[in-house]
């Protein structure tokens, strides 16, 4: 029974940081991650069930942790040792109920919504964010009857997806995977949910010019989510969606998902300038040029100093830069943000979203965001456009189905080859991949 365990070890942490400076993911072999034999975690209390993972993805935040690049901000909302893996599709080990209150039988395929909010922690009353359904904003992540951990995969008590012994999940974290979705589709639900939340909270308005910086898993799923949600009337449709994508396969996928244009990162600002009919000034001596106008919304799916600087250089005055990629400690010049009154907004995780209550649209009818929005049927009631709260994961399942995001899973590895898997994930774009996942059913007897 194998488990990848991440332990608190400063020497190993330092070694990982040094080795990963030669390339993300290269430090897995010397870092604090080890393959161990370990029993399944105990159920913390009632309302918790065991889940046996089938596939579990490797996320950018996992890589940052393994590389020793994670912000120290997270130190108090993580508990050691923990089993990584928060992008999980698995099988329920016993009967329970799902996050929406419906019964789930043992053997049901579920996608894990990994945030460990008040409900999972047994905290009563729920914090204001959790009461509002915004579990991603829960402020009680260090409290309750389980140890600190912002998500499953960073908490010492819950286990994580990178284990054959399974993990434990609270009712509030369980979403039955719709029939018709493959395991590969389902394992992308969590990142797609992040993308859905980011898109709906970026402040996009009808006819906006939207730019997406980066086309790794986050950038591509943001592109797919925006295209689908706009096409189905869940969010305003931008007039153009421009994506900065470093590698050719990323450019191709971005276009397939609905990008108006997908270009190399150094060309994105030029495309934004052209689409916004702006002038450009500055840019001498290695400085980023600034546009007189720019994109209404820039969604930064990288989170580096360079990407944030680039985003600030191409957003219009009073526009929004949404940070979806996880930033760490960065040094950037905020003068343009101040001078142009730019809104810099974080976008993390999920919960529920207020969206117009339109009927779900079959995948075949969904059209890219930049084309005409789906016309409302005469039969649809007038009040259909009134917003209602929908679980982000429910919307994510729609996007996954409509856009076949399972195709983004480029390779799977058994846990025993974790060093190769992490190295592959760290060099995903360069190696023509997008999402690397562990296949928990591979290479061992369950």
């Amino acid at each position: 029974m194998s488990t990848l365990l991440f332990e608190r070890s400063l020497p190993r942490f330092a070694a990982a940081r040094v080795v990963s400076s030669f390339g993300s993911g290269r430090g897995a072999g010397v870092g604090p991650l080890r393959l161990v034999e370990r029993d399944a975690p105990d159920l913390p209390s009632g309302g918790w069930s065991r889940v046996d993972p089938l596939l579990s993805g490797i996320c950018g935040s996992d890589l940052a942790t393994l590389d020793g690049r994670s912000s120290r901000y997270f130190e108090d909302i993580v508990s050691f040792p923990f089993v990584p893996g928060h992008e999980v599709v698995g099988l329920l080990a016993e009967d329970t109920t799902g996050a929406d209150g419906s019964p789930l039988a043992a053997g049901t395929r579920v996608a894990l919504q990994p945030v460990l909010g008040c409900a999972a922690r047994g905290i009563v009353p729920l914090c204001a964010a959790c009461q509002a359904g915004q579990v991603g904003n829960c402020g009680q992540l260090a409290f309750g009857h389980i140890r600190p951990g912002l998500q499953t995969g960073f908490c010492a008590d819950t286990g994580g997806g990178w284990s054959t012994t399974g993990l434990v999940a609270h009712t509030s974290q369980l979403f039955a995977v719709p029939d018709g979705l493959s395991d590969a589709d389902a394992v992308t639900t969590e990142p797609v949910a992040c993308a859905v939340h980011a898109v709906l909270h970026a402040g996009i308005r009808e006819g906006d010019l939207v730019a997406v910086v980066g086309a790794g898993m986050l950038g591509l799923t943001v592109t797919a989510a925006l295209a689908h949600l706009a096409a189905t009337g869940r969010c305003p449709a931008p007039r153009s969606l421009l994506v900065g994508a470093k590698y050719s396969q990323q450019q191709r996928l971005a276009r397939e998902f609905g990008a108006t244009e997908a270009l190399p990162p150094d060309q994105l600002a030029r495309a934004v300038r052209r689409h916004s009919h702006s002038l450009s000034f500055g840019g001498a001596a290695g400085q980023t040029a600034t546009l007189s106008g720019g994109a209404d919304v820039v969604i930064d799916c990288v989170g580096s100093a360079e990407s944030i600087t680039q985003s600030l250089g191409m957003v219009r005055p009073r526009g929004t830069v949404a940070l979806v990629g996880m930033p760490g400690k960065v040094t950037i010049d905020l003068a343009p943000l101040w001078h142009r009154e730019v809104r810099l907004a974080g976008a993390y995780a999920y919960g529920t979203e207020a969206v117009p209550a339109v009927a779900a649209v079959p995948a075949a009818e969904a059209v890219p965001a930049t084309t005409t929005r789906r016309k409302k049927s005469a039969a649809e009631p007038a009040e259909a456009a009134q917003p209602r709260e929908v679980a982000t994961f429910a919307l994510a399942f729609e996007v996954v189905a409509a856009m076949s995001t399972g195709r983004l899973v480029s390779a799977t590895y058994p846990l025993t080859r974790f060093e190769d898997a992490v190295a592959h994930a760290g060099a995903a774009g360069r190696r023509g991949a997008v999402k690397i996942a562990f296949d928990i059913t591979k290479g061992h007897t369950r």
Binding site: Q251, E261, L263, P264, Q267, R270, A271, R273, R274, H277, S278, L279, S280
Partner: protein, 529 residues
């Protein structure tokens, strides 16, 4: 010794390797036996007294025009327009023809007491010339007399205050041209007719026009039906310009056209081997070739570019004619063909071209991939009369490094065209429909065109449209030695050697194709029978 005409060589066992231009360099290629190589005619003897010839032409105009002095009088408004940096290629040794002609015209104007004289560089949508370039074209005397007083300007196709809409032709073509030129008592236009395409009504109708006017003939449909640009009666581009030119004349704009032709003495003596037939290379030619090729190989491209762009050409004036536009142009075209025409019997399956470092739109600049395509498919492919040198469905093989490099100041919209348009489609018709207007009206490109030295935002589209006839005609385009990614971006096939290219071409033209190499520059035009 009398001048030798153009020549078509059939390659046999004894034929030495053939020189191919390759951007900022050249290479020798062994062509298959039976291939044909077309060599340009040797240079016509230059006029002994160019100033005298100019004066004679101005005093003895062709067509329905009085001698120039009779058209000049005190109190009149005189505008002298002249071709821009795109002509001639390479730039000629001083004194430039424009300087010689304009000095003569100005002398006559001064004799007649004309005070209101303005000089205008007829840029159309090309980049503005620098002071150095203007000084080279006009000479210091003219420049210093006019520029400091604001009397030497460059046509601004985006200046609404200095454009005038004269109306529409019977085909609905808008005619909007430079207001100062159109409202002058006399418009003198000074041409350098490097090839048969240049001059005629195109001078004013294109050189002094706005986008609103140019879009009527600079579009894929017109270009596809211009077969070729060098053969005005068969060129829809010229038909449109002729309609416009006649309309301009009927609108009362009085034009005194001056056209000049050049010989094919294109390169200085240190590069004499470039315009010789290889089997006639002497020891010095061989040594020059070896030394130049070897040294260029070790030089970074930007230095090689600097070296080549510093070359000025010794080509000299062979004729000058003045008067009414059409009468003048008929004689000019005849003179151009006299210098450049080569009779060629029959078409070929494969046409090979070595592309040089320069085309009309990268003087003192960088030959970017779009300009490579334009030079190969727009210009050299069209150096024919009758039928294209290569048959319908045949293959064009170009040799050029085709680096994805751009001059950011001269070609800003080219960068975006390359990255944002060609990544989506290479079809000229689709490009025209989907993208042209947004580039043409882009305020940033307009700003750079008007205030910097940038080609207009729509210019890369026009370059691509120049290729439209060839793209429709050819079965495949292969670039030997080009950056593979850039070549593919253009929609062409990359090849690492001529043999590889011939192998690739065999998929289209079979295993035993006929092959013809156009040994240019020096420029020539094939009369294909």
């Amino acid at each position: 010794m009398s001048r030798r005409p153009g020549f078509v060589l059939e390659v046999d066992k004894s034929t030495p390797p053939t020189l191919f231009w390759n951007g900022e360099g050249f290479t020798l290629e062994t062509l298959p036996e039976g291939s044909r190589v077309i060599y340009a005619p040797e240079p016509i003897k230059a006029l002994d007294d160019p100033y005298g010839a100019i004066r004679h032409a101005l005093l003895h105009p062709l067509g329905d025009r009085d001698p120039l002095p009779a058209l000049l009088h005190a109190g009149m408004k005189l505008t002298i327009c002249f071709d821009d940096i795109s002509l001639p290629l390479p730039p000629m040794d001083a004194p430039d023809i424009r300087q010689m002609v304009i000095e003569t015209v100005l002398d006559m104007a001064a004799d007649a007491g004309v005070d209101d004289v303005m000089l205008i560089a007829a840029l159309a949508l090309h980049r503005r010339m620098t002071e150095d370039e203007l000084r080279h074209a006009l000479g210091d005397r003219v420049y210093d007399a006019f520029a400091p007083h604001g009397l030497l300007t460059q046509h601004d196709a985006e200046d609404p205050d200095n454009l005038i809409h004269l109306g529409q032709t019977e085909s609905g073509e808008d005619i909007e041209i430079n207001k100062r030129a159109a409202t002058s008592d006399l418009l003198v236009y000074v041409n350098i007719n490097l090839v048969a395409m240049d001059g005629g009504h195109k001078s004013v109708a294109t050189g002094l026009a706005s986008y609103r006017s140019l879009r009527h003939h600079h579009n894929p449909q017109t270009m596809q039906h211009s077969r070729s640009f060098m053969d005005a009666p068969a060129s829809e581009l010229h038909s449109s310009n002729w309609r416009m030119g006649r309309f301009i004349a009927e609108a009362g704009v009085k034009i005194f056209q001056i056209e000049t032709t050049l010989n094919t003495d294109t390169f200085p003596s240190s590069f004499a081997f470039l315009q010789k037939r290889e089997w006639e290379w002497n020891l010095r030619d061989r040594a020059s070739f070896a030394a130049t090729s070897t040294s260029l190989k070790g030089v970074p491209p930007r230095f090689a570019r600097q070296i080549f762009h510093s070359i000025t050409s010794p080509h000299a004036m062979t004729s000058v004619q003045a008067g009414e536009v059409e009468a003048v142009h008929a004689v000019t075209t005849e003179n151009v063909w006299k210098q450049q025409g080569v009779d060629v019997q029959g078409q070929t399956d494969i046409l090979t071209l070595g592309l040089p470092y320069i085309c009309p739109y990268n003087v003192n600049s960088i030959m970017n991939p779009i300009l490579v395509a334009c030079l190969g498919l727009g210009y050299f492919f069209n150096l024919y009369r009758g039928k294209p040198l290569v048959r319908q469905g045949g293959v064009l093989i170009l040799r050029h490094p085709t680096r994805p490099e751009f001059h950011p100041g001269h070609h800003p919209s080219y960068i975006d065209f390359y990255e944002q348009v060609l990544t989506q489609t290479v079809d000229p018709v689709a490009i025209h429909k989907q993208f042209e207007e947004s580039f043409a009206t882009d305020p940033w490109y307009i700003h750079l065109y008007r205030t910097g030295h940038a080609y207009h935002g729509v210019h890369p589209f026009y370059m691509w449209y120049w290729c439209a006839h060839a793209l429709e005609h050819l079965g495949r385009v292969i670039i030997v030695g080009g950056d593979p990614k850039a070549v593919r971006r253009l929609g062409f096939s990359p090849a690492s050697s001529l043999n590889d290219a011939l192998e690739i071409a065999s998929d289209v033209v079979g295993p035993s194709p006929t092959l013809t190499h156009l040994h240019a520059p020096p420029l020539m035009m094939a009369d294909v029978h």
